[in-house]
């Protein structure tokens, strides 16, 4: 019973990682850049919901929608001003810029909201389900997170493979130059990718802070990094890979906390990552792509 309950809390944590990892992998898959500011867009999204819900008293659903719109605009703005001018620069320059944007967002949040932790009101209104006389409890947030992650994953796969803008994304990810020659608006497509990635960040922010209701300007940073690890573990660029990587990461983390050592859990998680990457350098679901010379 203890094992099942540890497993379930691992899946709960993992589903959050999955949801964040979807945003990472989406942007990486198309724009081939690591958007380290993703975790902080999540934090901003959560703050928007917090401000709407708690301070202004707006109904939950509407404040989540406002956060999605806000983050989408924020993501596109960041892309326009911070990343687009660097389109021709080295990937290292873009990476450093992304880290800079991450600090910028954190410090703006510090300036506006202060460093005190705020307690987030859950946006999920589902009673926890308990089994075996309260021995095993699955919270409403966990159920919603898993369902939402699966829906988003399926929707993204369909969007990318079946729709015109989605196919444009695939084309841009394979060869920017050729895509442009074929009449695809490369800048527009990348902006769209950021818009979708940031909208996902808002949803992830809502569910992250509902499951773990402590909100501060640093809330997004660590889950962001863990989710990045999850995306790499699952095979970065692969949408189902992000989902699987997140769940695997969460389960390993919680089982090692529960059965090996709560002090060593992070070390174990990263050791597993190293081993997986040694055996399968492209991650669990990653495809091997032959570079054409």
């Amino acid at each position: 019973m203890k094992f099942l309950s540890q497993l379930i809390s691992g899946i709960s944590l993992g589903s959050i990682y999955s949801l964040i990892a979807l945003g990472y992998t989406m942007v990486y898959g198309i724009a081939k850049m690591l958007n380290f500011a993703h975790g902080d867009v999540i934090m901003i999204g959560a703050f928007v919901i917090y401000t709407m819900c708690v301070t202004a008293g707006v109904p939950t659903i509407i404040s989540v929608l406002i956060a999605i719109v806000f983050c989408t605009i924020l993501g596109v703005t960041i892309e326009r001003f911070a990343y687009k001018p660097l389109r021709q620069a080295t990937s290292l320059a873009v990476l450093i810029t992304a880290i800079g944007v991450s600090y910028l967002l954190q410090n703006i949040a510090l300036l506006i909201f202060g460093s005190d932790t705020k307690s987030f009101t859950s946006v999920v209104n589902i009673e926890p389900i308990s089994f075996a006389g309260g021995e095993l409890v699955i919270s409403g947030e966990t159920i919603v997170t898993i369902v939402v992650s699966v829906i988003i994953m399926i929707a993204l796969v369909i969007f990318v493979n079946k729709t015109k803008p989605g196919k444009a994304m695939l084309a841009v990810s394979e060869d920017k130059g050729a895509a442009q020659l074929m009449g695809i608006n490369v800048n527009g497509t990348i902006a769209l990718t950021f818009a979708i990635g940031s909208a996902l960040a808002a949803i992830a922010g809502a569910l992250l802070c509902s499951t773990y209701p402590a909100l501060s300007p640093y809330t997004g940073a660590m889950p962001g990094i863990k989710a990045f690890v999850a995306a790499v573990l699952g095979g970065i660029g692969s949408i189902p890979g992000a989902m699987i990587g997140g769940i695997v990461l969460g389960v390993i983390e919680n089982l090692s906390k529960g059965y090996i050592s709560s002090q060593l859990s992070d070390a174990i998680v990263f050791a597993v990552l190293v081993i997986v990457l040694l055996v399968r350098p492209t991650g669990i679901m990653g495809k091997k792509i032959n570079e054409k010379v």
Partner: protein, 405 residues
């Protein structure tokens, strides 16, 4: 190009504004209060002997930690007022002057210099740990007697032997917690969740485990987390729950604690949660559901609604001279600190003519011999290394308020 220019203008404006916001606010806030630091404005008092015993104070009267500094200031002023009304120390008038350090080590050392120029004979400060550590080095060099009301870091007292404190040191809160739990039969089987990446938390945990063994408390599970993994505690809670702990000891700060309380509630796990001063303020976490903290106990030297005569008298006097928002453990620590200085100075027969060095020698010998009944505990005594020994007190959260259990 145009966009870039606009952006540059907006950004520079923002910068200017933020600088203005940073520098202006604390100064304005402080001035009015710093000026009135000299307490002895009531001239009607007469003293047996000529001369004034000058006690200096340093603490954050402005800035982020101003709540603590002002609490100490008013607590000390109340004690000085009471002592002067009863004829002072050894027949001499007592004067207390507090300088602002804005919780900054460098400013604190400057304030120490300013107070020495004023003629400070001993120091009741500083209020916060990091400045206190810096000032304690200076005080040790001068053989200045230093009694900090609330500097709880171990380092505050390491520079010399004229350094003392009123509060428990950080790790000693672990000892005090184990003592309290054992002496009051709060629980027998204990689980611990601590932050292994934080020296405060680890220090308390280590001492707690030692003392718990001495007191026959059974520690069934010791679980850790780090700053980087401070979101999900269900694994730790599940382990502690399955080992049958009746009490979970949380030597941590409020942010992770609020998550632990929430997750334990979701799991349907309801032990007694017991914390140290890091947990103080859990009720003021913004938007926190106070119901989750119902029944949480925490170690604190001072409960404002306690009914013993010393506390009632202190609370009444304090409300007359100050705002209720400063009525906290810092004020109580400062109040006791001044009375401890009085007791030691009377034992050592300190006079205003004695220089700083001689006062320091006399006071450090007297401190280990005195015992005072204060608002932070009865029968407080000190050891030669400056640590207080007193009965720990705890509060319990009932209906969203701190009450004595």
């Amino acid at each position: 190009m145009k966009l870039k220019k606009i952006l540059a203008v907006v950004l520079s404006l923002l910068m200017v504004l933020s600088f203005a916001a940073c520098t202006k606010a604390p100064v304005d806030e402080g001035n009015s209060e710093v000026d009135e630091s000299n307490v002895n404005s009531e001239n009607a008092l007469t003293f047996e002997k000529e001369g004034v015993i000058k006690i200096g104070g340093i603490g954050p009267l402005t800035g982020d930690a101003a709540l603590y500094g002002n609490a100490v200031k008013y607590g000390a002023e109340l004690a000085v007022k009471e002592i002067n009304a009863k004829g002072g120390i050894n027949g001499y008038e007592v004067e207390y002057k507090m300088e602002d350090d804005m919780h900054d080590a460098e400013k604190s050392v400057n304030a120490y210099g300013a107070l020495k120029d004023w003629g400070m004979q001993m120091l009741m400060g500083t209020v916060t740990s990091v400045p206190c550590t810096a000032v304690s080095n200076e005080a040790a060099n001068d053989n200045m007697f230093l009694l900090t009301p609330s500097g709880s870091a171990v380092e505050c007292l390491q520079a010399g032997d004229t350094l003392f404190r009123v509060c428990f040191s950080d790790p000693n809160q672990g000892i005090a917690s184990a003592d309290y739990i054992a002496n009051n039969n709060v629980a027998k089987k204990i689980g611990i969740i601590f932050n292994s990446s934080d020296v405060y938390s680890t220090g308390i945990k280590d001492k707690f485990v030692e003392q718990a063994a001495a007191k026959n408390l059974e520690i069934v599970a010791t679980e850790a987390f780090t700053n980087d993994s401070a979101t999900d505690f269900t694994a730790q809670l599940t382990n502690i729950k399955s080992k049958g702990a009746e009490l979970v000891f949380l030597p941590i700060y409020t942010a992770p604690a609020s998550l632990i309380l929430q997750q334990a509630n979701t799991m349907g796990f309801a032990p007694i949660f017991f914390g140290c001063d890091g947990l103080d303020g859990i009720l003021s976490v913004e938007n926190f559901d106070a119901k989750l903290a119902e029944g949480v106990m925490l170690l604190t030297p001072f409960v404002a609604n306690a009914t013993d005569a010393a506390t009632v008298n202190f609370v009444k006097g304090f409300k007359e001279i100050s705002d209720e928002k400063y009525l906290n453990q810092f004020a109580a620590d400062a109040y006791d600190a001044i009375y401890a200085i009085k007791a030691a100075a009377e034992k050592a027969n300190v006079t205003p003519e004695m220089d700083v060095e001689a006062t320091g020698d006399a006071m450090k010998a007297a401190m280990v011999e005195i015992s005072i009944d204060g608002v932070t505990g009865a029968g407080i005594t000190w050891t030669a290394d400056g640590e207080p020994s007193k009965e720990p007190k705890a509060v319990k959260i009932v209906n969203g308020e701190y009450v004595a259990p």
